[in-house]
Protein backbone atom coordinates (compact mmCIF):
# COMPACT_ATOMS: atom_id res chain seq x y z
CA UNK A 1 0.00 0.00 0.00
CA UNK A 2 1.37 3.44 -0.84
CA UNK A 3 0.63 6.09 1.73
CA UNK A 4 -1.04 9.27 0.50
CA UNK A 5 1.73 11.52 1.70
CA UNK A 6 4.37 9.47 -0.05
CA UNK A 7 2.39 9.76 -3.25
CA UNK A 8 2.20 13.51 -2.78
CA UNK A 9 5.94 13.64 -2.20
CA UNK A 10 6.47 11.64 -5.36
CA UNK A 11 4.23 14.00 -7.34
CA UNK A 12 5.98 17.01 -5.90
CA UNK A 13 9.32 15.52 -6.91
CA UNK A 14 7.98 14.78 -10.37
CA UNK A 15 6.73 18.36 -10.65
CA UNK A 16 10.10 19.73 -9.65
CA UNK A 17 11.79 17.52 -12.24
CA UNK A 18 9.44 18.79 -14.95
CA UNK A 19 10.19 22.40 -14.04
CA UNK A 20 13.89 21.69 -14.09
CA UNK A 21 13.65 20.18 -17.56
CA UNK A 22 11.56 23.11 -18.78
CA UNK A 23 14.19 25.55 -17.59
CA UNK A 24 16.98 23.45 -19.13
CA UNK A 25 19.31 24.58 -16.35
CA UNK A 26 20.36 23.52 -12.90
CA UNK A 27 19.84 26.43 -10.55
CA UNK A 28 20.67 24.50 -7.41
CA UNK A 29 24.08 26.11 -7.17
CA UNK A 30 22.66 29.62 -7.45
CA UNK A 31 22.50 31.12 -3.96
CA UNK A 32 19.77 33.55 -5.05
CA UNK A 33 17.33 30.78 -5.88
CA UNK A 34 14.96 30.06 -3.00
CA UNK A 35 13.66 26.51 -2.84
CA UNK A 36 10.09 26.04 -1.65
CA UNK A 37 9.45 23.35 0.96
CA UNK A 38 8.26 20.01 -0.34
CA UNK A 39 4.46 19.74 -0.29
CA UNK A 40 4.50 16.78 2.08
CA UNK A 41 7.00 18.59 4.29
CA UNK A 42 4.51 21.43 4.53
CA UNK A 43 1.75 18.98 5.38
CA UNK A 44 3.97 17.38 8.02
CA UNK A 45 4.89 20.78 9.47
CA UNK A 46 1.19 21.65 9.75
CA UNK A 47 0.45 18.37 11.50
CA UNK A 48 3.38 18.81 13.86
CA UNK A 49 2.23 22.36 14.58
CA UNK A 50 -1.15 21.00 15.67
CA UNK A 51 0.73 18.69 18.07
CA UNK A 52 2.89 21.60 19.19
CA UNK A 53 -0.27 23.53 20.04
CA UNK A 54 -1.32 20.64 22.28
CA UNK A 55 2.08 20.49 23.97
CA UNK A 56 2.10 24.22 24.60
CA UNK A 57 -1.39 23.94 26.03
CA UNK A 58 -0.19 21.06 28.22
CA UNK A 59 2.66 23.19 29.54
CA UNK A 60 0.15 25.89 30.43
CA UNK A 61 -2.18 23.30 31.96
CA UNK A 62 0.57 21.93 34.18
CA UNK A 63 1.56 25.44 35.25
CA UNK A 64 -2.06 26.08 36.19
CA UNK A 65 -2.33 22.72 37.98
CA UNK A 66 0.83 23.33 40.01
CA UNK A 67 -1.06 25.68 42.31
CA UNK A 68 -3.34 22.86 43.41
CA UNK A 69 -0.67 20.28 44.23
CA UNK A 70 1.74 19.75 47.11
CA UNK A 71 4.58 17.48 48.25
CA UNK A 72 5.17 14.41 46.08
CA UNK A 73 2.46 15.21 43.55
CA UNK A 74 3.93 18.66 43.03
CA UNK A 75 7.39 17.18 42.47
CA UNK A 76 5.95 14.81 39.88
CA UNK A 77 4.22 17.65 38.11
CA UNK A 78 7.36 19.77 37.97
CA UNK A 79 9.26 16.90 36.35
CA UNK A 80 6.50 16.29 33.83
CA UNK A 81 6.24 20.00 33.09
CA UNK A 82 9.89 19.99 32.02
CA UNK A 83 9.24 16.95 29.82
CA UNK A 84 6.24 18.59 28.15
CA UNK A 85 8.40 21.62 27.42
CA UNK A 86 11.02 19.26 25.96
CA UNK A 87 8.33 17.74 23.72
CA UNK A 88 7.36 21.22 22.55
CA UNK A 89 11.00 22.01 21.85
CA UNK A 90 11.47 18.75 19.92
CA UNK A 91 8.38 19.40 17.80
CA UNK A 92 9.44 23.00 17.14
CA UNK A 93 12.85 21.76 16.01
CA UNK A 94 11.24 19.19 13.71
CA UNK A 95 8.98 21.86 12.21
CA UNK A 96 11.98 24.11 11.57
CA UNK A 97 13.75 21.16 9.92
CA UNK A 98 10.82 20.98 7.52
CA UNK A 99 11.23 24.71 6.87
CA UNK A 100 8.03 25.46 8.73
CA UNK A 101 7.37 28.08 11.37
CA UNK A 102 6.57 26.73 14.83
CA UNK A 103 3.41 28.08 16.44
CA UNK A 104 3.78 30.11 19.60
CA UNK A 105 1.96 29.61 22.88
CA UNK A 106 -1.26 31.55 23.29
CA UNK A 107 -1.22 34.46 25.69
CA UNK A 108 -3.82 32.65 27.82
CA UNK A 109 -5.71 29.37 27.96
CA UNK A 110 -9.16 28.72 29.32
CA UNK A 111 -9.02 25.85 31.82
CA UNK A 112 -11.86 24.88 34.12
CA UNK A 113 -11.41 25.77 37.79
CA UNK A 114 -9.65 23.01 39.74
CA UNK A 115 -10.48 22.24 43.34
CA UNK A 116 -8.84 19.51 45.39
CA UNK A 117 -5.52 17.80 44.71
CA UNK A 118 -7.46 14.82 43.34
CA UNK A 119 -9.32 17.14 40.96
CA UNK A 120 -5.99 18.40 39.71
CA UNK A 121 -4.65 14.89 39.18
CA UNK A 122 -7.85 13.85 37.38
CA UNK A 123 -7.36 16.90 35.18
CA UNK A 124 -3.81 15.71 34.43
CA UNK A 125 -5.13 12.24 33.53
CA UNK A 126 -7.69 13.79 31.21
CA UNK A 127 -5.08 15.97 29.50
CA UNK A 128 -2.63 13.08 29.08
CA UNK A 129 -5.38 10.94 27.55
CA UNK A 130 -6.21 13.74 25.12
CA UNK A 131 -2.57 14.01 24.11
CA UNK A 132 -2.22 10.27 23.53
CA UNK A 133 -5.40 10.09 21.44
CA UNK A 134 -4.24 13.03 19.34
CA UNK A 135 -0.82 11.49 18.69
CA UNK A 136 -2.33 8.14 17.69
CA UNK A 137 -4.64 9.98 15.31
CA UNK A 138 -1.91 12.03 13.68
CA UNK A 139 0.72 9.30 13.26
CA UNK A 140 -0.46 7.76 9.96
CA UNK A 141 -0.96 11.21 8.47
CA UNK A 142 2.75 11.98 8.84
CA UNK A 143 5.21 10.95 6.15
CA UNK A 144 6.96 7.64 6.87
CA UNK A 145 10.32 7.86 8.60
CA UNK A 146 12.01 9.22 11.65
CA UNK A 147 9.37 11.76 12.53
CA UNK A 148 6.91 8.93 13.17
CA UNK A 149 9.41 7.37 15.59
CA UNK A 150 9.85 10.68 17.39
CA UNK A 151 6.11 11.18 17.71
CA UNK A 152 5.77 7.60 18.98
CA UNK A 153 8.48 8.26 21.58
CA UNK A 154 6.58 11.34 22.80
CA UNK A 155 3.35 9.33 22.90
CA UNK A 156 5.11 6.64 24.96
CA UNK A 157 6.31 9.22 27.47
CA UNK A 158 2.77 10.60 27.74
CA UNK A 159 1.58 7.03 28.39
CA UNK A 160 4.15 6.72 31.16
CA UNK A 161 3.10 10.02 32.70
CA UNK A 162 -0.50 8.84 32.54
CA UNK A 163 0.45 5.67 34.41
CA UNK A 164 2.09 7.73 37.15
CA UNK A 165 -0.96 9.97 37.62
CA UNK A 166 -3.28 6.95 37.66
CA UNK A 167 -1.11 5.46 40.38
CA UNK A 168 -1.24 8.67 42.40
CA UNK A 169 -5.03 8.45 42.20
CA UNK A 170 -4.93 4.86 43.45
CA UNK A 171 -6.14 3.52 40.10
CA UNK A 172 -4.74 0.73 37.92
CA UNK A 173 -1.66 2.18 36.25
CA UNK A 174 -1.65 -0.02 33.16
CA UNK A 175 -5.32 -0.92 32.86
CA UNK A 176 -5.16 -2.09 29.26
CA UNK A 177 -2.73 -3.83 26.94
CA UNK A 178 -3.36 -1.04 24.45
CA UNK A 179 -2.89 2.63 25.27
CA UNK A 180 -5.46 4.51 23.21
CA UNK A 181 -5.94 7.70 25.15
CA UNK A 182 -9.52 6.92 26.05
CA UNK A 183 -10.78 8.52 29.27
CA UNK A 184 -9.78 6.51 32.35
Amino acid sequence: MTPTLSRRRLLATAGASAMLLAGCADDTKNANVKTAPDESDTADADLLNSMLDLELEMVAAYKTAAGGLRDGALRILKGFLEQEQAHADALAAAIKNLKGIPNQAKSSYDFRPLGSQRDVMRFAVERENNQIAAYIDVLPKLSPGEVRSTVSAILTTESEQLAVWLGELGLAQAPSAFVLGRPA
Binding site: P140, A153, S159, A163, A174, S176, A177
Partner: protein, 208 residues
Protein backbone atom coordinates in the same frame (compact mmCIF):
# COMPACT_ATOMS: atom_id res chain seq x y z
CA UNK B 1 49.30 -1.19 12.69
CA UNK B 2 47.14 -3.53 14.68
CA UNK B 3 43.39 -3.04 14.45
CA UNK B 4 42.11 -1.90 17.85
CA UNK B 5 40.09 -4.52 19.60
CA UNK B 6 38.36 -4.13 22.89
CA UNK B 7 38.81 -7.13 25.16
CA UNK B 8 36.36 -7.47 28.01
CA UNK B 9 35.50 -10.14 30.55
CA UNK B 10 34.85 -13.18 28.42
CA UNK B 11 36.56 -12.35 25.15
CA UNK B 12 37.17 -9.93 22.32
CA UNK B 13 34.47 -8.24 20.32
CA UNK B 14 34.49 -6.18 17.16
CA UNK B 15 35.43 -2.57 17.92
CA UNK B 16 32.58 -1.01 15.94
CA UNK B 17 30.11 -3.30 17.64
CA UNK B 18 31.52 -2.41 21.02
CA UNK B 19 31.35 1.30 20.24
CA UNK B 20 27.70 1.01 19.29
CA UNK B 21 26.94 -1.19 22.23
CA UNK B 22 28.80 1.03 24.67
CA UNK B 23 26.34 3.83 24.02
CA UNK B 24 23.50 1.64 25.20
CA UNK B 25 25.51 0.13 28.05
CA UNK B 26 26.54 3.52 29.36
CA UNK B 27 22.90 4.52 29.33
CA UNK B 28 22.05 1.39 31.27
CA UNK B 29 24.71 2.04 33.84
CA UNK B 30 23.59 5.64 34.13
CA UNK B 31 20.18 4.31 35.06
CA UNK B 32 21.87 2.21 37.72
CA UNK B 33 21.12 -0.98 35.90
CA UNK B 34 23.13 -3.92 34.78
CA UNK B 35 22.00 -7.33 33.73
CA UNK B 36 21.69 -9.67 36.67
CA UNK B 37 23.30 -7.05 38.86
CA UNK B 38 26.66 -7.52 37.11
CA UNK B 39 28.42 -5.95 34.16
CA UNK B 40 27.13 -6.96 30.75
CA UNK B 41 29.26 -9.69 29.24
CA UNK B 42 30.99 -9.34 25.88
CA UNK B 43 29.09 -12.34 24.60
CA UNK B 44 25.89 -10.33 25.03
CA UNK B 45 27.03 -7.59 22.72
CA UNK B 46 25.96 -9.00 19.34
CA UNK B 47 22.67 -10.14 20.83
CA UNK B 48 21.82 -6.76 22.24
CA UNK B 49 22.80 -5.09 19.01
CA UNK B 50 20.56 -7.49 17.15
CA UNK B 51 17.69 -6.40 19.35
CA UNK B 52 18.45 -2.72 18.94
CA UNK B 53 18.31 -3.16 15.18
CA UNK B 54 15.60 -5.78 15.20
CA UNK B 55 13.56 -4.00 12.57
CA UNK B 56 16.29 -1.99 10.91
CA UNK B 57 16.72 -4.07 7.78
CA UNK B 58 13.14 -5.09 7.18
CA UNK B 59 11.16 -3.42 4.48
CA UNK B 60 7.66 -4.86 4.54
CA UNK B 61 4.84 -4.78 7.03
CA UNK B 62 4.75 -8.59 6.97
CA UNK B 63 8.38 -9.00 8.02
CA UNK B 64 7.97 -6.33 10.67
CA UNK B 65 4.98 -8.22 12.02
CA UNK B 66 6.87 -11.51 12.13
CA UNK B 67 9.58 -9.86 14.24
CA UNK B 68 7.01 -8.18 16.47
CA UNK B 69 5.25 -11.50 17.07
CA UNK B 70 8.52 -13.15 18.08
CA UNK B 71 9.40 -10.19 20.29
CA UNK B 72 6.09 -10.29 22.14
CA UNK B 73 6.12 -14.08 22.50
CA UNK B 74 9.64 -13.86 23.90
CA UNK B 75 8.46 -11.32 26.46
CA UNK B 76 5.73 -13.79 27.44
CA UNK B 77 8.40 -16.45 27.93
CA UNK B 78 10.44 -14.11 30.10
CA UNK B 79 7.44 -13.35 32.30
CA UNK B 80 6.65 -17.09 32.47
CA UNK B 81 10.09 -17.64 33.95
CA UNK B 82 9.81 -14.67 36.32
CA UNK B 83 6.47 -15.95 37.61
CA UNK B 84 7.97 -19.42 38.05
CA UNK B 85 10.97 -18.01 39.97
CA UNK B 86 8.68 -16.04 42.29
CA UNK B 87 11.16 -13.33 43.30
CA UNK B 88 8.69 -10.44 42.91
CA UNK B 89 6.89 -9.45 46.11
CA UNK B 90 3.96 -8.07 44.10
CA UNK B 91 2.60 -11.38 42.84
CA UNK B 92 0.06 -9.69 40.57
CA UNK B 93 2.59 -7.67 38.58
CA UNK B 94 4.23 -10.23 36.30
CA UNK B 95 1.00 -12.11 35.43
CA UNK B 96 -0.69 -8.82 34.52
CA UNK B 97 2.16 -7.70 32.28
CA UNK B 98 2.45 -11.16 30.72
CA UNK B 99 -1.22 -10.98 29.78
CA UNK B 100 -0.60 -7.68 28.04
CA UNK B 101 2.28 -9.21 26.07
CA UNK B 102 0.03 -12.11 25.07
CA UNK B 103 -2.56 -9.68 23.77
CA UNK B 104 0.07 -7.75 21.86
CA UNK B 105 1.27 -10.99 20.25
CA UNK B 106 -2.30 -12.00 19.39
CA UNK B 107 -2.94 -8.63 17.78
CA UNK B 108 0.12 -8.96 15.60
CA UNK B 109 -0.75 -12.55 14.64
CA UNK B 110 -4.19 -11.40 13.48
CA UNK B 111 -2.63 -8.53 11.55
CA UNK B 112 -0.15 -10.85 9.84
CA UNK B 113 -2.75 -13.45 8.89
CA UNK B 114 -4.95 -10.63 7.56
CA UNK B 115 -2.05 -9.81 5.24
CA UNK B 116 -1.93 -13.44 4.13
CA UNK B 117 1.18 -14.26 6.14
CA UNK B 118 1.96 -17.14 8.46
CA UNK B 119 3.05 -16.52 12.07
CA UNK B 120 6.66 -17.53 12.77
CA UNK B 121 7.41 -20.60 14.92
CA UNK B 122 6.87 -20.10 18.65
CA UNK B 123 10.10 -19.29 20.51
CA UNK B 124 10.77 -21.78 23.26
CA UNK B 125 12.87 -22.05 26.39
CA UNK B 126 15.44 -19.78 28.07
CA UNK B 127 17.59 -19.73 24.94
CA UNK B 128 14.91 -17.75 23.11
CA UNK B 129 14.91 -15.12 25.86
CA UNK B 130 18.72 -15.04 25.80
CA UNK B 131 18.55 -14.13 22.11
CA UNK B 132 16.65 -10.99 23.09
CA UNK B 133 18.42 -10.03 26.30
CA UNK B 134 20.83 -12.28 28.15
CA UNK B 135 20.84 -12.83 31.87
CA UNK B 136 17.44 -14.13 32.97
CA UNK B 137 19.00 -17.38 34.14
CA UNK B 138 21.36 -15.41 36.40
CA UNK B 139 18.78 -13.51 38.42
CA UNK B 140 18.51 -14.58 42.06
CA UNK B 141 16.45 -11.94 43.82
CA UNK B 142 13.80 -9.29 43.29
CA UNK B 143 16.21 -6.46 42.44
CA UNK B 144 17.91 -8.51 39.74
CA UNK B 145 14.57 -9.67 38.38
CA UNK B 146 13.30 -6.10 38.13
CA UNK B 147 16.56 -4.98 36.50
CA UNK B 148 16.21 -7.72 33.92
CA UNK B 149 12.56 -6.95 33.20
CA UNK B 150 13.33 -3.24 32.86
CA UNK B 151 16.06 -4.15 30.40
CA UNK B 152 13.87 -6.41 28.27
CA UNK B 153 10.95 -3.95 28.25
CA UNK B 154 13.39 -1.19 27.28
CA UNK B 155 14.58 -3.37 24.41
CA UNK B 156 10.97 -3.79 23.32
CA UNK B 157 10.43 -0.02 23.32
CA UNK B 158 13.63 0.39 21.27
CA UNK B 159 12.43 -2.18 18.75
CA UNK B 160 9.06 -0.47 18.35
CA UNK B 161 10.76 2.90 18.07
CA UNK B 162 12.60 1.53 15.03
CA UNK B 163 9.51 -0.21 13.63
CA UNK B 164 7.36 2.91 13.79
CA UNK B 165 9.52 4.54 11.13
CA UNK B 166 8.92 1.57 8.84
CA UNK B 167 5.29 0.45 9.15
CA UNK B 168 3.32 1.40 6.07
CA UNK B 169 -0.29 0.55 6.89
CA UNK B 170 -1.99 3.13 9.10
CA UNK B 171 -3.65 0.59 11.40
CA UNK B 172 -0.31 -1.15 12.03
CA UNK B 173 1.34 2.15 12.80
CA UNK B 174 -1.43 3.02 15.25
CA UNK B 175 -1.33 -0.43 16.86
CA UNK B 176 2.44 -0.11 17.14
CA UNK B 177 2.09 3.24 18.92
CA UNK B 178 -0.56 1.84 21.24
CA UNK B 179 1.61 -1.16 22.13
CA UNK B 180 4.76 0.96 22.49
CA UNK B 181 2.81 3.11 24.96
CA UNK B 182 1.80 -0.03 26.81
CA UNK B 183 5.41 -1.21 27.10
CA UNK B 184 6.22 2.25 28.46
CA UNK B 185 3.57 1.82 31.14
CA UNK B 186 5.11 -1.54 32.02
CA UNK B 187 8.40 0.28 32.50
CA UNK B 188 6.75 2.69 34.92
CA UNK B 189 5.45 -0.17 37.06
CA UNK B 190 8.79 -1.96 37.03
CA UNK B 191 10.83 1.19 37.73
CA UNK B 192 8.57 2.12 40.63
CA UNK B 193 8.92 -1.38 42.05
CA UNK B 194 12.70 -0.96 41.72
CA UNK B 195 12.54 2.49 43.41
CA UNK B 196 13.75 4.22 40.24
CA UNK B 197 12.40 7.38 38.62
CA UNK B 198 9.29 6.21 36.74
CA UNK B 199 9.69 8.53 33.74
CA UNK B 200 13.38 9.40 33.47
CA UNK B 201 13.38 10.80 29.93
CA UNK B 202 11.19 13.19 27.94
CA UNK B 203 11.52 10.97 24.87
CA UNK B 204 11.08 7.26 25.58
CA UNK B 205 13.08 5.73 22.75
CA UNK B 206 14.44 2.67 24.55
CA UNK B 207 18.00 3.91 24.15
CA UNK B 208 18.46 6.31 27.00
Amino acid sequence: MNRPVVVVADGAADTAQIAAFERDRRALLRRGLALGGAAVAASSVPLLLAVRNAFADDETDATLLEKAITLERTLVLAYDRVIQDGFLRDEQLAPALREHERRHAATWVTALTDLGGQPPPEPAGPAAVDKLVKGLGDVHDEAQTLAFLIEIETAAVAAYYDAQAKFVQARLLQSGASIMGSEGQHLVLLRQAAKLAPVPEALETGTS
